[in-house]
């Protein structure tokens, strides 16, 4: 195979992989802090897409995409905090014994609610905001401007997220809650507030992926379904609860899908990701960066 073509496939895979990472990092972050799986992540991705579409086409116009993007992310984050405060926080208030089951039922219900709300508000149609950036040449790969912005946006957001988690007092509080909720409580950290913020930030990352990808892929009520599957695939590959694992898992998945679909067959694009997952689980049952845990 031509080396230029192979480089193009690799670059295309890495670009899409970086965007997958956002989704996976959001899921794994919420899990790390709150010890619950948010099954409605795809719907927050979808809401981010719709928000970006409305901002770009009706409210701000394509020229102000740099304003639309943070507004869409902020909007999804605030919605996430409201959802956490109203619907999820009661389960941490000591009245419920089966937290996992409650969280699963609640977030799956949210999936149904948000999808149907999208159908009611926007109809079942597909939408796509216009491209807001000129095409870019990334080495040998000609790339759509909006997709390049999505790639850069994903890298910047992941970097920013890593900086907040590793270098700030707020990040320290988040990490302490992730390590030991009781210990963090004893140290004077307000768990309800941290949970609310963590959930808001986690879903904002999914919303960011949706908003960044709105001009690249189409926006429709079920558009989040596939990204949820990819997100969970990545966190299992990378190791549940591991942020570096999510990043590496996302890039690996993007690469495997890109190369598999041209070197083998595009009919089985999704199978390659699951194949990778099975191989990794066979050798490292906790994922690439996962650690064995014991619960009392």
């Amino acid at each position: 195979m031509d080396a230029t073509l192979l480089t193009q496939y690799v670059l295309a895979g890495l670009v899409i992989g970086a965007i997958y990472c956002l989704m996976a990092v959001g899921i794994t972050f919420i899990y790390s802090v709150m010890k619950m799986i948010n099954w409605a992540m795809g719907e927050f991705y979808m809401i981010g897409g719709y928000a970006q579409y409305l901002l770009l086409t009706d409210w701000l116009g394509p020229a102000r995409w740099y304003l639309a993007l943070p507004l869409a992310i902020l909007g999804v984050g605030v919605l996430g905090m409201v959802v956490e405060r109203v619907l999820l926080q009661p389960m941490f208030a000591g009245r419920l014994e089966r937290l996992d089951e409650y969280a699963t039922i609640m977030t799956i219900s949210l999936t149904v609610l948000f999808r149907n709300l999208a159908v009611v508000v926007f109809g079942p149609y597909q939408f796509s905001p216009r491209d807001y950036a000129p095409p870019v040449q990334l080495g040998p790969l000609p790339i759509n401007g909006s997709r390049f912005v999505a790639f850069l946006g994903a890298v910047v957001l992941l970097g920013l997220f890593q900086w907040v988690v590793r270098r700030t007092w707020f990040g320290l509080a988040l990490r302490s809650v992730a390590q030991n909720r009781v210990g963090a409580l004893c140290a004077g950290i307000s768990l309800p507030r941290i949970d609310m913020l963590a959930f808001g930030i986690g879903v904002a990352l999914a919303g960011a992926a949706g908003a960044l990808l709105a001009p690249v892929f189409l926006v429709y009520p079920q558009s989040g379904a596939l990204s949820t599957v990819k997100g969970f695939e990545i966190i299992v590959i990378g190791g549940l609860g591991s942020l570096p694992g999510s990043v590496v898992g996302g890039l690996l998945l993007g690469l495997v899908e890109s190369l598999g679909s041209v070197l083998i067959s595009p009919s089985f694009r999704d199978v390659y990701g699951f194949g990778l997952l099975l191989v990794i689980l066979a050798f490292r049952p906790t994922g690439l960066w996962g650690e064995r845990a014991r619960e009392a």
Binding site: P124, Q126, L141, N144, Q222
Partner: protein, 414 residues
């Protein structure tokens, strides 16, 4: 005594297996025409919406102009009966289509069903139509197997795969192109069209090569396949996606500089919906060629003219093929009931096989037991159009093919 009870039970069970059990014979009030069509993704909901509108127009014509089924213009000794349309969403998926068909027949007592758009959904449902003995007309599902499998209750008023393959191969030949790339979704529609095109090239010994790549319909990123095509430098790319994938192929081919430098031909008429097409693609959509089943230069039948005028009045937009063909299917079912003087679906099926029915175009549709894919098949004409400037509507687009209707020549992108 015991024997008569057993006989009565057997009679009830037999009735349960026929129309009487489902309730077509006994149901008072309007006759129900079932519309089973995609109204949500992953199907093509915009197409489904247009099909529903066409069916509503059919209901209007039957109830007002015809005075109902068995109305005064027939020789049937049955009371004139109005019709009503019951709609089910199949989402373009086999499982929802099967459930929707069953619901339309057993709960709504539909005497006939139409509106199918996605081939996989219709193919999965066809055996159920046979089992229940209720006529099921494909409004816009084109996979060869739908009629090729010779289902007793299944009919089609839409071009079949070989018709479509013949049209685009004729167009490609006329352009003097030889190297054809096809990106087809992994559905019965996509795979069927790839097979039909390959077969026709071989049968006619055309001087053409076809690189058909089948992709997973749920994939959102088709860039790697399109990069491969770009490296191969084909003369034309055939876009065989339906709904979301059809748009993604255009957008992503444009992103990597494959389209419009290399011409692209879309396999069906989604670009005729300007409010969706131009809104989603903007200038990217210019230069696309696409198959359409209707253009205002085609002569409509009196029924078609009525439908076009009433559609504009009722929905404030120009009627497109999905509207007209769905309207035509409602009319065909009503005419079959009139000709058979019966509301029994099995008699309607028998009448569909032997009658001739007015529809929106041409001099009447027939559904003989033809050979191969032409079993119960009637095909309307099809044309190939090209958008040459942004925000053009399909009635302004030049017809490139067939030569008899040609109004323009292919314009390469500058």
């Amino acid at each position: 005594m015991q024997r008569s009870i057993v006989a009565a039970m057997v009679a009830i069970l037999i009735a349960g297996g026929t129309g009487a059990g489902i309730g077509w014979g006994a149901t008072p009030g309007p006759l129900v025409l079932g519309v089973l069509t995609p109204l949500s993704p992953p199907g093509d909901p915009a197409a489904g919406q247009l099909i529903v509108r066409g069916a509503q127009l059919g209901e209007q014509y039957i109830n007002t102009v015809m005075g109902g089924v068995f109305g005064p213009k027939t020789s049937c000794a049955l009371p004139a009966t109005p019709v009503t349309v019951a709609v089910e969403d199949d989402s373009g998926t086999p499982e929802k289509s099967v459930a929707g068909f069953r619901r339309l027949v057993t709960e709504e007592h539909a005497v006939g069903v139409f509106g199918a758009f996605h081939s996989s959904a219709m193919l999965a449902t066809a055996p159920l139509a046979d089992e229940l003995g209720v006529p099921y007309i494909s409004t816009q599902a084109s996979a060869a197997d739908i009629t090729g499998k010779h289902f007793q209750a299944v009919f089609r008023t839409h071009p079949v795969d070989p018709d479509r393959a013949a049209a685009w191969l004729g167009f490609i030949q006329a352009q003097g192109w030889h190297k054809v790339a096809m990106l087809a979704e992994n559905t019965d529609y996509g795979i069927g069209l790839a097979e039909a095109t390959k077969t026709l090239i071989a049968q006619k010994k055309l001087n053409m090569t076809l690189d058909a790549v089948i992709f997973d319909r749920t994939s959102a990123d088709l860039t790697p396949q399109l990069l491969k095509f770009k490296a191969e430098k084909p003369d034309i790319v055939l876009n065989v996606g339906v709904g979301t994938p059809a748009y993604l192929i255009i957008k992503q081919a444009h992103d990597i500089g494959l389209f419009p430098q290399t011409p692209m031909l879309a396999s069906y008429d989604f670009p005729v919906r300007p409010e969706e097409y131009w809104k989603n693609l903007g200038p990217t959509g210019t230069s696309l060629t696409f198959i359409s089943y209707f253009h205002p230069r085609m002569a409509l039948s009196p029924l078609g003219k009525w439908a076009a005028v009433e559609y504009a009045k009722r929905f404030h937009s120009t009627a497109v093929y999905s509207n007209l063909n769905s309207f035509g299917d409602a009319m065909i079912l009503a005419e079959a009931m009139n000709q058979a003087c019966s509301r029994d679906p099995r008699r309607i099926i028998a009448q569909l096989e032997r009658g001739r029915f007015d529809t929106w175009i041409g001099d009447g549709a027939t559904f003989p037991r033809g050979t191969g894919v032409y079993w119960h098949q009637w095909s309307p004409p099809l044309v190939i159009l090209q958008y040459t400037k942004q925000d053009e509507t399909y009635d302004q687009a030049p017809i490139l093919y067939p030569p008899a209707l040609k109004t323009g020549t292919f314009e390469a992108a500058h």
